[in-house]
Symmetry: C2
Subunit: 337 residues, 2 copies
């Protein structure tokens, strides 16, 4: 017998997954008639016991898991601190799992968590993650999940992010206002939701200022330090050199600093640099680094708050919702300020 989940119920009834989920939570948004149809089919298909199973489990473990790509990254370190603050208030334990940006590791962790050692999950997907079957399976076990930062839009649940598009646009416009004409975008992975949004903001800014988009200036740097260094070095030694760099993540900006040291390029005179970053020592760099600062701690807190609210109410799913917290641009010497 094939597995029953929100998706199969929705397909059989010809309604959306969200409708099934809301109906099972007795939401006021769903008509009594639809609720009746959903609950009846759920009972027939033996879906109901999950509710009890998951709430039973919840009372037992008082533990949530946080799945993140890495921790040698100030954004995740601060976000986890935000999560821990809320978990402490709710008297929950937090287990942190690292995927090291590996899809395989992420799948293995999700399988491991199906054994029921936790009540809920807060997750930021790896750069390699290209599908979401492993995440859907976890949720089918009655485990509540909230995404933060790196999300999968195909999964219906709450997602807490920053305004990546607008921040990408602002960062690029800032470089243009400071006189940059050939701006490169340093990307971590085109599979990442946040990376694509930041890049879309970059392209929008170029369009707005009538600067032609040059695909050669979008550099896929990848996750390996050595490889990123090489890609950036190629960019900065190619003819008709770029005069500014917008790095999607902090480590690509510090790699750019290293390459400039090697090549004898002066920041900001030869090259302007800005990046997304949560480091506390941006002002101590030589030159001080212009950054887009995400509200990392708040993002962690918000994601955790949503999760605990639903755990408390013993809901079996979380409605699809995008919560977007604003980032702040801090201009410093690396962009000529």
């Amino acid at each position: 017998m094939s597995k029953v989940n929100l998706k199969t119920l929705a397909a059989e009834l010809g309604v959306s997954v969200s409708t099934v989920s809301k109906a099972l939570q007795n939401s006021y948004e769903i008509s009594e008639e639809t609720k009746q149809r959903v609950v009846t089919l759920a009972k027939q298909r033996n879906f109901r016991p999950n509710v009890y199973a998951s709430s039973l489990r919840r009372q037992q473990t008082r533990t949530i898991a946080v799945i993140v790509p890495e921790i040698a990254n100030n954004f995740f370190a601060f976000a986890i601190n935000g999560i821990e603050e809320i978990a402490q208030e709710n008297d929950y334990h937090v287990l942190i799992y690292l995927t090291h940006d590996s899809y395989e590791k992420e799948v293995s962790i999700c399988e491991h968590l199906q054994s029921g050692r936790i009540d809920g999950v807060l997750m930021s997907v790896s750069t390699e993650t290209n599908d979401y079957e492993h995440i859907a399976k976890l949720m089918d076990k009655g485990i509540l999940l909230v995404f933060f930062d790196r999300v999968r839009h195909e999964i219906e649940t709450a997602k807490v992010t920053t305004d990546d598009f607008v921040s990408g646009l602002n960062a690029t416009e800032h470089l243009i206002e400071q006189g940059a004409k050939r701006i490169a975008y340093l990307s971590l992975s085109s599979k990442l939701s946040i990376d694509n949004k930041r890049k879309a903001g970059y392209m929008e800014a170029l369009l707005k200022h009538n600067i032609e988009f040059d695909p050669n200036l979008v550099v896929a740097c990848g996750n390996q330090q050595h490889e990123a260094y090489q890609r950036i070095k190629e960019l900065l030694t190619s003819p008709n050199r770029t005069d500014a760099v917008f790095a999607s993540v902090e480590k690509l900006a510090t790699e750019t600093y290293m390459v400039c040291q090697e090549l004898g390029l002066k920041i900001p005179n030869d090259l302007k640099v800005i990046c997304f970053s949560n480091t506390t020592i941006a002002s101590l760099l030589n030159p001080s680094l212009s950054t887009v600062v995400q509200p990392a701690f708040e993002i962690g807190k918000q994601a955790a708050n949503i999760l605990f609210q639903h755990l408390e109410r013993k809901n079996i799913s979380i409605l699809n919702e995008n919560i977007i917290l604003k980032s702040v641009l801090v201009a410093r010497e690396s962009t000529g300020c």
Copy 2:
């Protein structure tokens, strides 16, 4: 009935805990007669079942826990990466628990882990931790534990650290060779094993170079950023100002940079700075920062290797052993190099 553990057995037999532990592991170091006495009493006191219980649990969970004070710290981030590499090879999952340097949190995590969700623990204690009852209790449940970096010497098990004393001595001598005469030591907590060793190295270097030790130059900065900033500011504005700072951890060095920015003091001319640090961007700071670099990744790997070797052999305890890996001093502009 009071609980039976290695300690109570040792007391009753009038031998050391280590002897009991080795005897139960059938070590060649223990005479047949002593082994017989230990095993007989262990059986009488019903201690033996623990062995089966723990090896049974080990086969079930294939999971270890890593307990660390914080992750917004490059040392722990790299050490965890080293641990994860070994865990992956052994096909184990790694759960990371953060104490946020709180003794209370550390005790709560240790209690949580007694429930048997893990086979072994790798631990670095919090700055607040002043006793070890909670750690002993965990080990009494048959859970194997290895310390790394911040250890409790009272607990008999393997401890993997760096050569804190020698590195502290070298860092201080380096400042003296660069012309410093009034060197301050910035401490995180006098409860910490590593902090005390680094300070002892500092004092040894002063003695060696006939520089009188001034207790006013040892500054307890604590774990709160704001407090640390204040303490360092007081130090740098007091009469007969210090001309060099040896910071026991990186964040106290970057706070020193911030204070110097506010006070208009120039590093290294007005003040030389060196610290223990694993940041990858020390060379990008203004001025570049002289550091004592710990082999963080290797420390994590070694600690994990010891743990897995014992899990594999289904040992019930790990012999007392200090494994010391060397740190490297990297001199840069902040000490006038």
